[in-house]
């Protein structure tokens, strides 16, 4: 049973480019609520787990509160990177100080920013995850595998396939009621897949309306931190994430993109750096299992049983689908996330999972994102047609070198499948059929 304590207030500090430090109060500028998790587990989170989540939430809040430099193309060549310093109170400052370089390496990779992190002692009971009430009893089956669940198509399809074989704990983060509602509906639908149990564990994280920066590239750390910490609380040293290889690697669509403008939340390198951090903090190996990294989104969808399809239809992939915080807010249909979903559903022969009027923009013919995707597909195809496709891919997309330790042959095969899918849907994909002559030429 947890000890009774007054509710705590964690106050971090941060500064930008060597400026005057500002306070960041987690109970004020950002909200972190994990009480439903600790009550379901009937135990407090281990110190390192609570610290990891609170650090990730603090970093995420700072990421949202500090505007990036203007992205004007010829502004003295200045990139969108920021210089950020933060001091975060934790339960074990000596432990985090010893491994701060691993955390800053991961953050720099995710955000392009330079991070300088310091840690100080958190007063007892002052953390948002410190419990003030007693517990009942643990209701999570012992053999449940911790799985990260976002409410998107990949995580739902992967979880559906997983539930055919074993129990799962679906760990999620929601930032608003609409996201929570969608995640709950999808999980409820997935209960029909098999007799295996899926226990939902949910955290609420939200940054106040004073946030000015929308890029939130630290979001990947937030999700992985919550998943890793909860796995520790379950006394496990592994976490499963379901993300398709094309989306995870996320090669830049255009060479005008700089660094993490092509998001790296679930990139193979992100997963590797997170594994290293988790192992260092816990002094035990930690495994981030990503079984779908060698598959396309369409192939991942195909692994889900047919009985899961009603639940898959409820998933949300859109970049703005959750951020609008509006109930039943229709996905845009024109962002890269929506377009990859549409491409994958068509390639998997499951286009009818999305209603005909599901999208705000049903024919994104003039969408820059679509044209960028088609231009990228044309460049990938040209590389795959070369005698040495891997060398051609490295020359055209140097970022593909970051996929190590994935084998070049596997990555090449992944992109060959992806291009084959584009070729196979030319007549059925609504976007391409509306593109007419230009679209065919681009494809």
């Amino acid at each position: 049973m947890g000890a009774s304590r007054p509710p705590g207030r964690l106050t971090a500090r941060f500064s930008v480019s060597g400026g005057h430090p500002q306070p960041l109060q987690l109970s004020c500028q950002a909200l972190l609520d994990g009480h439903s998790v600790t009550h379901r587990l009937a135990r407090e989170l281990p110190y390192e787990a609570a610290d990891l989540i609170e650090i990730a939430v603090s970093v995420h809040a700072i990421d949202r509160l500090v505007r990036r430099p203007s992205a004007q193309p010829a502004r003295a060549g200045v990139s969108w990177a920021r210089d950020l310093w933060a001091q975060v109170p934790v339960r074990q400052p000596w432990l985090w100080s010893a491994h701060a370089s691993l955390l800053t390496e991961l953050l720099t990779w995710l955000t392009d920013d330079s991070w300088s992190l310091e840690f100080c002692q958190l007063p007892g009971g002052a953390g948002p995850l410190d419990e003030s009430q007693g517990f009942l009893f643990d209701t999570v089956p012992d053999d449940s595998v911790p799985v990260l669940f976002s409410g998107g198509l990949d995580s739902a399809a992967g979880l559906a396939a997983h539930l055919l074989a074993s129990n799962a704990v679906a760990i999620s983060v929601d930032t608003n009621n609409w996201m929570q509602h969608v995640q709950a509906r999808v999980l409820s639908g997935l209960q029909a897949v098999s007799d295996h149990q899926c226990v939902p564990l949910r955290y609420r994280v939200s940054v106040g309306r004073s946030s000015v920066e929308t890029s939130q590239r630290s979001r990947g750390l937030l999700f992985l931190a919550v998943g890793t910490a909860t796995a520790w609380a379950l006394r496990q040293d592994r976490l499963r994430v379901f993300e398709n290889g094309i989306g995870a690697i996320n090669l830049p669509y255009l060479r005008s993109q700089f660094g993490s403008q092509a998001t790296r939340s679930m990139h193979p390198r992100t997963l590797r750096l997170m594994e290293q951090l988790a192992a260092a903090i816990s002094s035990r190996p930690f495994h981030l299992e990503a079984p779908a990294l060698n598959t396309t989104k369409a192939q991942l969808i195909e692994t889900a049983p047919a009985v899961a399809e009603p639940a898959l239809a409820l998933t949300v992939s859109c970049d703005t689908g959750f951020s609008a915080r509006v109930r039943d807010h229709a996905p845009c249909g024109a962002c890269t996330s929506c377009l990859l979903r549409r491409q994958a559903l068509h390639a998997a022969g499951k286009a009818d999972l999305d209603k005909a009027d599901a999208y705000r923009d049903s024919s994104p013919l003039r969408s820059v994102a679509l044209q960028a995707m088609l231009w990228q597909a044309a460049r990938i195809r040209a590389c795959l047609d070369q005698a040495d496709p891997w060398t051609a891919l490295v020359s055209e997309f140097p970022e593909i070198l970051d996929t190590a330790p994935l084998a070049p042959a596997d990555v090449t095969s992944l992109y060959r499948s992806y291009i084959r899918e584009w070729d196979s849907i030319q007549s059925s994909f609504p976007v391409s059929s509306q593109l007419g002559r230009q679209g065919k030429a681009a494809l």
């Binding site: 992205a71 004007q72 193309p73 010829a74 003295a76 060549g77 200045v78 990139s79 990177a81 720099t108 330079s114 998107g152 990949d154 995580s155 929308t214 890029s215 939130q216 989306g247 996320n250 669509y253 255009l254 060479r255 005008s256 993109q257 700089f258 660094g259 403008q261 092509a262 998001t263 939340s265 390198r269 992939s317 859109c318 970049d319 689908g321 959750f322 962002c335 890269t336 996330s337 013919l365 820059v368 994102a369 044209q371 960028a372 088609l374 231009w375 044309a378 040209a382 060398t391 490295v394 020359s395 140097p398 970022e399 593909i400 070198l401 970051d402 230009q438 030429a441 681009a442 494809l443």
Partner: protein, 199 residues
């Protein structure tokens, strides 16, 4: 998980002229001249790549050691702040991974020239071509394979090669100018009878 990818598409002055040339299907050499001028202007405005010779040296070291394990060379962490330098680091990593044998056989100045040449190609795509390509394909001006061939032809121009040499002499971009295209002198008596199109 939604990506929220950012896709820059805005064009600075000189590159808008390149776009007009491509939209108007101007001859490749004329477009190459416009591209070279746009590149020179971009390098002046963005302070060039002051560390290009050092990056080239690290590129050769990494190629020789086989130590390229990512899209940036080892030791390039600070490059994130300056876009052209980061583009150079990425180009160097691609060259070191893709042609280590060739880089082992060339001198340091030659390696720097190889990198400068590749850098100009990549900057042309970063600041120009990849911001235009979606538009040009969407509007049906070109199909993707045709546009890829045309852009390769434009970048293979001697003008771009000459600018690469000039960049190595002015790596900070100050005073960097596109080379003027030299044209064979025509004697006045021949000029009188020459076809205007040929001139």
């Amino acid at each position: 998980m939604p990506d929220d990818d950012r896709i820059p598409t805005s064009l600075a002055g000189g590159w808008r002229k390149v776009l007009r040339y491509l939209q108007g299907r101007e001859p490749a050499d004329r477009t190459a001249d416009a591209v070279t001028r746009a590149l020179a202007a971009t390098l002046r405005a963005t302070n060039g790549v002051p560390g290009i010779r050092g990056i080239a040296a690290r590129m050769q070291d990494a190629a020789a050691a086989g130590s390229v394990s990512g899209s940036r060379l080892p030791g390039s962490a600070e490059a994130r702040r300056h876009v052209p330098t980061d583009v150079a680091e990425r180009a160097a990593a691609a060259l070191a991974a893709g042609m280590p044998g060739e880089l082992a056989l060339v001198s340091s100045p030659e390696a720097a020239l190889v990198l400068a040449r590749r850098l100009l190609d990549d900057l042309a795509f970063h600041y120009g071509f990849d911001r235009m390509a979606p538009l040009l394909i969407r509007d049906g001006t070109y199909g993707a394979p045709e546009l890829q061939s045309l852009l390769a032809e434009v970048l293979a121009s001697d003008q771009v090669s000459k600018l690469a040499k000039r960049l190595l002499n002015r790596p900070d971009g100050v005073g960097l100018r596109a080379p003027s295209r030299s044209r064979p002198r025509v004697a006045p008596e021949n000029l009188l009878h020459a076809d205007l199109g040929e001139i």
